[in-house]
Structure formats: C-alpha cells, structure tokens
Point group: C2
Chain length 479, copies 2
Amino acid sequence: MAKKAIGIDKYLDFDDWYHDALREADLVDIRYPVKGMIIWKPYGLKALRLTQRILMDLLEKTGHLEAYFPALIPESVFARERDFLEGFGGESFVVEGTGTKKFNERFYLRPTSETVMYYMWNLWIKGRRDLPLKMYQVVNVFRYETKMTHPILRVREIMGFIEAHTAHATPEEAEAQIKEAIGIYEEFFDRLQLPYYIVKTPPWDTFAGAEYNYDFITVMPDGKGLELGSVINLGQRFAKAFDIKYMDTDGQFKYIYQTCYGVSERVLGAVIGIHGDEKGLFFPPEIAPIQVVVVPIAKPEDVQVLEYARRVKEILEKTGIRVFIDDDLEKSPGWKYYYWEMKGVPVRIEVGPREVGEKTVTIARRDGAPRIVVKLDELIPVVNEVFREVNTALRERALEHLKKLSIIATSCTPLENLMGLIIAPWDGSREEAEMLEKTFNKGVLGEITESPMPLPPPSNYTTCSGRKAEKWALLGVTY
Amino acid sequence: MAKKAIGIDKYLDFDDWYHDALREADLVDIRYPVKGMIIWKPYGLKALRLTQRILMDLLEKTGHLEAYFPALIPESVFARERDFLEGFGGESFVVEGTGTKKFNERFYLRPTSETVMYYMWNLWIKGRRDLPLKMYQVVNVFRYETKMTHPILRVREIMGFIEAHTAHATPEEAEAQIKEAIGIYEEFFDRLQLPYYIVKTPPWDTFAGAEYNYDFITVMPDGKGLELGSVINLGQRFAKAFDIKYMDTDGQFKYIYQTCYGVSERVLGAVIGIHGDEKGLFFPPEIAPIQVVVVPIAKPEDVQVLEYARRVKEILEKTGIRVFIDDDLEKSPGWKYYYWEMKGVPVRIEVGPREVGEKTVTIARRDGAPRIVVKLDELIPVVNEVFREVNTALRERALEHLKKLSIIATSCTPLENLMGLIIAPWDGSREEAEMLEKTFNKGVLGEITESPMPLPPPSNYTTCSGRKAEKWALLGVTY
C-alpha cells in the first residue's frame, strides 16, 4: 500500500503531505502525461462542485446572470487590447488548424474571457438601461504556466474558473461593484473557513489591461502565499479597445466602466492545505462530499445494529445531509475511523448494541473533540449544531495557521530561514517596495486593506529608507 | 424592431422560424465571428442547465460518477486507436504552441474523450472488483464540422456534452449496460416530451472504434433527422489499443468490454424546434427557466392587485416553482401575454380586481387550453396538475409532428417533394441499403428497433430487389 498522508507534518514537508493527501483521498490523479493537467476523480470533483455552488449562488443572489462565451478566440479579437495581448499572448495555447488542415487565422484557447466577452458587449450595450450588466460564467481556462506547476494550485488547465464581468455607466458605480464583489468573496471564503488578507496590488503589478485590483491572499503550510481570488477594476481600457459605448440620458455616447473578478479550483487547494492535518483531509461540512459517515459497530449476526444504522442514515438523508454508511463487515471500526478521517469527513456517527438499546447515537468530530451521545429524536438539530461547532474549530485552527505563517517585520533587516508572509511598513512607492523585496527576498504583493488580525497603525513605523510609513505591505513568495 | 418569430409557420420556413425564435427569445447570440461557435445568453443557458440536470440525476441514480478529464490530448495518446484517429483526426482542432512558442508535440482539443479517459483507465483497472466502472463528465467538445453549421443543432464547440463511459468484465455485462443506457435516455427524452425512433446503425456507419451503436433519432420541422443521442458498444477495441486488462477470478488477465453514450445541447435544439409554434418557444415545465409568469391586470393605483400578485408569486416560489412577476405597468397585459408566450413560459397566471375579491387566480396554458379559475388555497396542486396537462398536450402535439414527417414507403419507388423521414422494408444488407438510398435520395440511418408508433411486421413486405424484408430501415437527411 502507498505511503499514507497520515503521520506527515504538513509544516515540515508540505509537498509530500499534499501529494499523499490528494492520492490517498482519491481526489485527483496527476499521472496524465501533459504537464499541469490533471484528472478530477469523483470524490474530488464532488467537493469542487459543492464549493462552486456556494459562489454561484452568491453571484445569482446579487443579480449576476450565467452566460457562456466560446473557448476559441480569433487572434484579431484577442489582440485588440495591447497590454492584455502582451500579458496573456505568450502563455496562451494557440490553435492553428485541425489534425490535417491549417487555418488562415490563429485562435487562442481562452486564458480568461475579457476579449471574447467584450467583443459581444459591444453589440449588446446601447443605452443606459442596458447597464449595469452583470454576468458570470464557469469555464476551464488554459494558461501555459512557465512557473512550476502544482496539482490544483497552479495548473495549465484551470478547472471551473468562475469569472464575473460587469459594465457600468459611471466610475462610481464600478467602484460600488468592486465593493459588492469583495463582499461576495468575503462571504465565500468565510464559509469555507479560510483566512485571508486583502491587498490592493501595486500599479506596476496589476492585471493586464486593468486600473487596479484587489487580491485575496492566504498562506499555505509551506509558507507560500496563495492568491484565492482577484477583484479587478478595468476602468475604460477594454471599453475603448472594444468600443463599448452607451447613449447616456444627455444624448451623448460614453464609454462604459468595467470590473471583473474570478476564482478557480485553487480555493479547494487552499481548503485541502489549510484545513488538512496529519490524519489527512478535513472538509468544512458545507463542501464535504460526505458530511456524516455512519459506522455500525457490529458482528455479522447483529442484524439489529445494522438495521438501526440504516435508519440513522435515512433520518439524516431525509433532511438533505450527505451521509454514507460504511457497513463493510470485513473491516474493523478502527480501520474505518482512520479511513474516513483521512477522507476529510467532518462528522462520524457510531452505533453499536448500546446505542440500539438506548435509542441514541454517538457522535465524533473530525477535529477530535470529545464524543457526545445523543437521543435519536434530537439527531438532526444536534448534527446541525455539530456542523457549526466544526466550522468554528476549523476557523480558529486556520487563523492560528495564518498567524503562525505571518510575521510583522518593522525593522528593515533580513530574517533568517523565514517561512511565510511578511507584513512590513511601506509608503506605497516603487523604490521602497524594491528595497523591501531585496531585504526579505520576497515580492511585494500589495498594500494590505484588510487583515484577519488587527494590525497597529503603520504610521508608528518608518520605511526602509526612514520615511514615514503609510501602509502595510504584504510580501511573500507565491504559487 | 426585428422580425418576430410569431407568425411564421415553422413547417413552411423552418430556418427563418428557428433563427427568429432563438433571437427573439434571447436564447443565444450567433454573431460571434467564429463559424459554429455561439454565445449562450442567460435565458438559453438556464434552460440548458435544467435539461442537463435531468440527465445528470438519472446518471447519478444509476451509479455513474462524475469525473473530469483534460481537454488537451497529446497526439501520442490520441493516435492509439487507428479507426478513431481516422474518424476524428481531421475534424479535431490542434494546438501546436502558444502565442509565441512552438511545442515539440501536438495536442488535440477533445472531440470526445475516449482516448484521454481510457489512457487513465489503463492505470485504474486492475481486478474484477474495479468493474463495472461507470463514469460521466459534462464538457465542451470541439469538432471542425465541414457540414453546414446551425446554432445549437450542429456546432463546432459542442456545449455541455454529457458523455458516459463504462467498463465491464464480460460482453454480457456490456450488453446489459447498453440496455440500461437506452432506458436512461428513454426516460430523459420522454420527460422532455420528445418523440424518437431508436435505430441500430449499420455496421458500415458505426462510431469510429465501435462494435455497433444505437441512435435516438427525431425529426425537425424541416423534415431533417436529428440524432438526439447515441449509445455505443465499444467492444474491446479501445481496451486493446490502451491495454486495459483486469485480473479475473481465475487469475488470467483479460481485456475489458466498454460502452459509451452521449447527449449534447442539441437536445435543447430539438425541444425548441419540435415544441415551438407560430407564437414562438414552448418549454416543457420541467426545463422552463420561468415556469409561471404572473401578470397583474391593474392600473398603477390598484395597489391591492399588485400586492395580491406578489403574494401569489411567493406562494409558488416557496414550493420551488420558478416564477416571474411581470409588474411593468407601462406595458399592457396583452403585450405581456404575447411576450411570455414567445419566451415559451408554459403557464400564465392573471390576477385582477375580480381575483383579489374572490381570492382566486386565473390560469392560462401556453397551448391555448381554456383558462381556469382556481381558489388561492388550491393553487399549488392545481398548478402541478396543469404542468402535467401541459406535458400531455406537448407529447401529443410532438407525436403528431413526428407522424406528419414520417412516411412508410413500402414500394421502392421515388417520392416527389418528400419532406421527412422514410421507413422502408429492408433486409439489413449494404446493397439493399444503397438501393434505398438511391431511390429516396436519403441516407439509411439504421434499422428501427423502437418506434413511437406501431409498425406492421416488415416480413409482410419485400425489399427493393424483391427479397423478403426482415427489418424496417429509417432513412433521412440529417443535421
């Protein structure tokens, strides 16, 4: 049998832990012979679908409509916005023909959908009542990454990219949309119990073709930063490139203002890395493919126990809880506990002869909290309460994790063997950013606009060259 | 304003009717500058998602697990099964590099996923307990069609192809799986109220790399046949090409037996074409993005009517019915009736001062059945009953449609100006098929194994060259 995830300390050897966890839990298969492209196995895909559903519902609730735009983009459309072409042209896959025939034009396999979408918006947006336009699509996007690839975290076929795009009449409305988007992502990541910093990226490092963007950044157990999502103010650059104008109430034709924001399967990679432990995976209940595993503790002749276990399963299933009963009598209860903990199932229910007699069940939490015994007729409210408690435990663990891997460095001096993100005083200038990067050997990811733990006022500190600090910079090496 | 779908007889000018219906109802946008690739607008995509959900649930219920396999397939993998390569190589898009760099190997953009999937199954299938393996994925597939493209019906980026693949230890198990798949598709198309023939394709026209396949074929208003879905027995050819063996209980390594079956967005094209009429679209309730539109018949000052209409909406919404209230007071009720009928909403509820006074609503059906007045406290059961009645009406209309466009031609003589499918006596031989094709100027689609209306025994008739017939051949020109 292959080496087990269980037993490896993810903070000591994250790469080994991560690959073992993915394989043992059967989430993905990385043996496909194209670098950066992986197979999603049913258990992993189920978790991803549940994760996507949360965000899609949040987008729908706030008036974003799902649409679909083609995967192939003619070069003439792709090349319209010059910065975008420079930013994405070299890392986009290109189709030049079929197996037997060459085309006259080249087609880009979408690395992201601005160009294909805005080409159509030029046709759709005519007047003020067409605005705001709020759309999203869930698609795979393709990027020929030259950085090292990692399953789920950095891939060449990005799986289920949920990209939202909006158009507005005024810059104020676009700004308000940016705030709404940040609020949506906050709720999304909060429900996954993921802690994050929000940074505003420096102007020299914004998305190709954008005015500015906010990034949600978390940290993985190896200390590397991970961008969970990005909220981008596109201003009018694409509007000008694609000539998207509306007739305002004053009869004038005006360019629209645009925003876009996207999240990929990477967020599930963060869930795996941040919530997992030496036992394996640990899914928050909302996205766990199996939320409750029922383990009958019975000999083959204990028909009553098996029947009772099935009844428990049915009671749970009826309220929509995702439950699996492991009634394989060839395996010991201990083996099953270990196995389902490794698979990340947040709650286990044990039933044996005692539980049958007392009409109770015993509930165990994946985080190791003391077991509780519950009357069968209180099962549903208690299980839901246990889900909430598990979420609280996960949130606290994850915040500890983030704190452990975040260092506030107020004096501009190198730190030895530093693993994690650095928070340093900054004035926002490029020269000071370069000094910080040189000192700490990490990149400036942006100015922190939201931190999961309180930070002192930056004005208490000075920058590398002794200027008064105005902001906190977040530095890190990222995936 | 653009020309309206309403008023065109789809049987006289289907192409015009179809394009008008798609545009007026805002289902898709066909103005994207890549031939055969279209935009799915929110209303159309919603109908497609609801349609897909039915089939996905049927697949899940029968033990198929959702997985995901990459879109890009290395040429070395793609080329393993020779017939498959010949069948799909020329119509597959090929990636040879990025915008700025050439790769050493070519990658095929999946036209269907046999090769990428079975490459992995070689790694996954070891013993008898790994079988049967039943998987599906929902992906876009890409085919450089040389036939004329039609939005939704024949495209180059096929949208949401639901492809299922299975592996078995014995040919009998594979045969049983074919039967299960046919049963799944029957239920799927029946729930969409689509009538169909099932044909077994002739050996000279099977799917590339297959033993035989069953096709579900319906007919569009222009008389052209449309393949709704295909159920394929792959035998062992891919198993041999990809060396997929399992160790049997006798200790021997044996090749697996495989089946696959797929359905695309085309089924929604069939719904549009077959159920639509001179008023526009007509969605079966199960896939209607809006199942009920509530139209208040009120002057702006009739606050009571508007409040009552909103209450009706809430009552419906609470039970999960997809409902929209059209309370735009600038438009007349007549305009709204016309508009929502064009959009295919199957049920309309009208409320005016009389309904408020009597605590009733008036229910109108999209198919024009007499309106009924219902007490508010009976609303839900009545609406559900109305949905069933609408389905029955649609089924009957669709069957009439199919009969109208199907001709049993028992004497092998040309038919003038024939629009539709031809059912002709056949002995199954290639030479007789060629005689039929020459006589009727249509292709033999296969032997009919299931017909929506009873057919006489073929043995009552003779073939073109006077042999005794054993089967009914289905002939048609297809999309």
